[in-house]
């Protein structure tokens, strides 16, 4: 067992974990943050995507011990209280989800994408989220949602854009 210390959604956590434990299982099973989903176990689907120190990563690809000393934001920590993050709002408005299973991962990948490229065109959006599989939407409305989120984030007056995770 190894002791790790990690800040998750703004709260400092410290636990003894098995060295082989994956970060996604730590989030789901130890912290009860079940919004991060496991879709494939093989880093193909992206449902487990979280923000690690400001970058979107697939949490099934990391051991918990690798996150020691880091800051993690999961889908549960993206909104500021009851105020949704602009990316969450856009997915709701543009019908960017159906069954909702891949959605937390897609949203966090989008947060990561827009951090690196605040004004992506359709091609850049599609390339940016190709690591996330969605079987319901055919990606059509996901692309619209990402565009809309980019506009919202660009239009947000300085200082008012949510900072957590971005």
């Amino acid at each position: 067992m190894a002791r790790i210390s990690v800040k998750v959604n703004g709260t400092q956590q410290s636990h003894e974990v098995e060295p082989r434990q994956l970060l996604v299982h730590y989030l789901r099973d130890v912290l009860g943050l079940t919004g991060t989903h496991v879709g494939c176990d093989t880093s193909q689907c992206g449902s487990c995507t979280v923000m690690l120190d400001g970058h979107s990563v697939k949490s099934c690809t990391l051991f918990t011990v690798q996150a020691d000393g880091s800051e993690v934001v999961t889908i549960e920590g993206l909104a500021s209280g009851s105020k949704l993050h602009p990316v969450q709002e856009s997915f709701w408005e543009e019908h960017g989800l159906q069954c909702g299973f891949c959605t937390p991962g897609v949203i966090l990948s989008t947060v990561g994408l827009l951090r690196e490229n605040p004004d992506p065109d359709e091609r850049a959006i599609r390339a940016g989220i190709e690591g996330n599989l969605c079987r319901c939407t055919g990606y059509h409305n996901i692309v619209k949602a990402v565009r809309s989120a980019a506009k919202k984030l660009a239009g947000a007056p300085a200082g008012t854009a949510p900072t957590r995770g971005t």
Partner: protein, 791 residues
């Protein structure tokens, strides 16, 4: 008082009510349900496709620290677990002994041979490696056509030629004569390859037994929890239905694959009761490939006859359908009543005959996958229409247009048993051609070819049959279930409403669309309506969601209950208002006396009066609640035209989908945003069948596309945005006039894309290629064509 204008909600693109929980990570999927003391199951699976089990030694696994128990197929059989039955019988059908865990023989790679239960999933997985499986390899057949040949390895001793059934529909003699007399008979040999649904949420189940009440609760990824309860309770496990509760919480996509009763959930339910602890199993993605029912897998010989003017004269189809190693729940229905009956398409075909052989092989069982039979039928028709157009030297759009059933012929009796409810096919075709700019495209295509660029356009005119019904008819055809739906509207004393629906939403947005129906019907805000689904403990009964049936069947059941509520409310309101019931009308949430709108009661006031029961009409019971079962008189038949535009890079064989135009008619629409979303997803899945997806087995029965690295699930950068439009031809079959939209995209898009690629390759003289049209396959075909040219 003037009647308040209430904005109608039905027909509006209202944001989904279920989304806030999903976008904040607060959905509850089966694997998210945590119970104290839960143990985890891991299944040991056969690596051979066909073998006799000599011995399963579980002793070392049992001794592993943290392991609670290990069971074999024999343990389950001895413990009273019966085989999983088939839910659709055909004449002469050979049934199979489909066990949760194999007892003496394994018949496909991935079949479970033992289950380990341990304190954690990781321990169960470790211990599974200690189970010693001693088995004797037997010969294997994976290809259905090969399985029918004399001397082929046998899958079941009860089916001596591997034939599960032979089924026919249509008029053979008439079709033979029509094809003999035809000016031109176009022949195709078509393979509709096997697919895997791959919902992003893997299947999961969690069972918990309460000895005090003898209640067993099963959380399971199901599209139809009542069907699960009935089959598992009554047939497989012998559990009393009244104390067996099945909850299907948020479900992460189904596409058919979560309809069926699966071995793992049977085992988990049995284990929880046997061991007295909650037991959970969540599939790994590799298990989704090896243990989820697969789809399609047809080989067809098609003969399509035309008269000298290009008018359809007859159609003969012979299909071999691969059913895999066991009969899954609805497997016999998919390649028969959901396939052969759809071969009339949108066309006026005077004679049709179809015969189907259902065949066992040493592969994962095959059952319904999005579209289920209807995409296979559409592919047969629409691919052959394109081959015919080329052979006849006719424009493919014109050949289709001239053979469409005209709008004055509805209801239309087909040659293959169905009666189409309503339709007006030509406008959808015309609109799609207009949107894509058909003539302009042909000019661009010709010009591009001169520069070595190969563009192609493919059409697909499709029909779908939704809301399989009526129960009496499907019963006579072999269904072991009724195909109605239930809907309860429970009005509370404050006028708030709980709706209990037997439909199940796993992405379809019923909490929104059904709320729209109820809010409109009762003139109350959507926020006053709660939609409950997916729990046999709360909902009277239900047949679930598949076959694009929820709006047409489940929605109509709710609508019927609304009418009952309004009628009772009207009589009660009349009594309270001291008016004759016939003089009271209900509008915009208010019961009022005709001609004197000031004399009225709100819906909430009448609801309260019904529960106070202080002043009731003679003979009226207190309370305000209604349950309805809707058993539709017929299917509904959505239709439309889809057009794909592609570019094929002949140097690499890679196809790029440049544009996708879809014009659909799904009848009336409750929420256009949701309908469009359904179409988008369906289109993507059908495009993927045309270009990338294939469940391929090698000769020894190993799935060679058993991971997301090898199986071509589409990603965002492989697809364009879609261009959609609708025509509206309401269905006369239900009060809402809706038809269904869940599968349309999947049905239409595969042949559209296939036709587009083959149109692009026309200059090379390539007539047909089997799906998926991967770069390798296309490149090889182009190379072969070029080398023939050189010779």
């Amino acid at each position: 008082m003037a009647t308040a204008t209430v904005e109608r909600l039905v027909g509006k693109a209202i944001r989904r009510r279920e989304d806030p929980r999903f976008i904040t990570g607060r959905g509850t999927f089966t694997d998210d349900v945590k119970l104290p003391g839960t143990h985890h199951a891991f299944f040991v699976r056969s690596s051979l496709a066909h073998a006799r089990i000599v011995n399963v030694d579980t002793s070392r696994a049992r001794a592993h620290s943290g392991v609670r128990a290990v069971f074999t197929g024999k343990d389950l059989a001895d413990g009273g677990v019966n085989g999983i039955p088939v839910g659709w019988l055909l004449p002469g059908l050979k049934t199979t002994d489909f066990r949760a865990i194999a007892v003496d023989r394994v018949r496909h790679a991935g079949e479970a041979v033992a289950v380990v239960v341990a304190e954690s999933a990781a321990i169960a997985r470790d211990a599974a490696e200690l189970v010693q499986l001693d088995y004797e390899e037997l010969p294997v057949v994976v290809d259905a056509v090969a399985a029918l040949r004399p001397g082929a390895p046998l899958v079941h001793d009860s089916a001596p030629d591997n034939r599960c059934f032979h089924w026919e529909i249509g008029d053979k003699a008439k079709t033979d004569a029509a094809l003999r007399g035809a000016a031109k008979v176009v022949k195709t040999h078509l393979v509709n390859q096997r697919l895997i649904a791959n919902a992003i949420e893997p299947r999961a189940s969690l069972a918990s037994y309460a000895p005090a009440t003898d209640e067993l609760t099963l959380w399971v990824t199901s599209q139809n929890p009542h069907v699960h309860r009935l089959i598992m309770g009554a047939f497989v496990l012998g559990l009393p239905e009244q104390t067996f509760r099945v909850i299907s919480p948020d479900v992460g996509g189904g596409f058919g694959s979560k309809i069926f009763v699966y071995p793992e959930e049977v085992a988990v339910a049995w284990l929880a009761k046997k061991l007295g602890v909650p037991v959970k199993w969540t599939a790994q993605r590799s298990e989704s490939f090896l243990a989820d029912m697969q789809g399609r897998d047809h080989v067809s010989e098609v003969e399509m006859g035309f008269d000298a003017g290009g008018t359809l004269a007859g159609l003969r189809v012979r299909t071999v359908a691969n059913l895999g190693a066991y009969l899954s729940l609805f497997a016999p229905c998919v390649p028969t009543y959901l396939y052969g009956t759809l071969l009339n398409g949108l066309y006026d075909i005077p004679a049709i005959h179809c015969e189907v052989d259902g065949v066992f092989t040493h592969t994962v069982p095959v059952d319904a996958y999005r579209g289920a039979g209807r995409p296979e039928a559409c592919y047969v028709l629409e691919r052959t229409m394109d081959v015919a157009a080329r052979e006849l030297g006719t424009d493919p759009a014109e050949l289709r247009r001239k053979n469409l059933i005209s709008k004055d012929r509805f209801p239309f009796q087909t040659q293959v048993a169905l009666t189409y409810d309503s339709g007006n096919y030509a406008p959808a075709l015309a609109r799609a051609l207009e949107m894509v700019g058909y003539q302009r495209f042909r000019a661009e295509q010709a010009e591009a070819r001169t520069r070595g660029r190969y563009l192609g356009l493919g059409l697909s005119c499709y029909i779908e049959a939704c809301g399989l019904a009526p129960s009496q008819v499907v019963g006579s055809l072999g269904a072991q279930a009724g195909l109605y739906e239930s809907g309860t509207v429970r009005v509370h004393p404050t006028g708030k409403v709980t709706v209990l629906t037997g439909s199940h939403s796993h992405g379809q947005g019923h909490e929104t669309t059904f709320s729209q129906l109820v809010a409109d019907g009762l003139g109350i805000p959507m926020t006053d309506v709660d939609i409950v689904h997916g729990d046999t403990g709360r909902i009277p009964f239900g047949m679930g969601t598949y076959g694009s049936r929820s709006g047409a069947v489940g929605g109509t059941a709710i609508h019927m209950s609304l009418q009952k509520i309004i009628e009772k409310g009207r009589v009660l309101a009349a009594h309270l208002l001291e008016a004759a019931p016939d003089d009271v009308e209900f509008k915009a949430g208010r019961f009022s006396v005709k001609g004197s709108p000031d004399r009225g009661k709100t819906f909430a006031e009448v609801s309260l009066a019904a529960y106070l029961a202080h002043k009731m009409p003679a003979g009226m019971e207190p309370g305000l609640e209604a349950t309805s079962f809707f058993d539709p008189p017929n299917f509904t038949y959505p239709f439309g035209t889809h057009i794909a535009v592609v570019e094929v890079d002949v140097e690499t064989g890679r196809t790029t989908l440049l544009r996708y135009v879809a014009v659909d008619d799904v009848g009336n629409v409750i929420n256009p945003m949701i309908v469009e979303g359904q179409l988008h997803g369906g289109i993507a899945q059908g495009v993927a069948q045309a270009l990338w997806e294939e469940a391929a087995y090698d000769e020894s029965g190993q799935l060679t596309t058993g991971s997301l690295m090898d199986y071509g699930l589409p990603r965002a950068d492989q697809l364009p945005s879609f261009e959609t439009d609708r025509t509206v031809t309401p269905s006369p079959v239900n009060a809402l006039g809706v038809k269904g939209a869940g599968e349309a995209g999947t049905i239409a898009s595969t042949p559209a894309v296939a036709n587009a690629v083959l149109d692009a390759l026309a200059p090379f003289g390539i007539g047909h290629l089997d799906l998926p049209l991967t770069p390798q396959k296309v490149w090889k075909a182009v190379q072969a064509a070029r080398s023939t040219e050189r010779r």
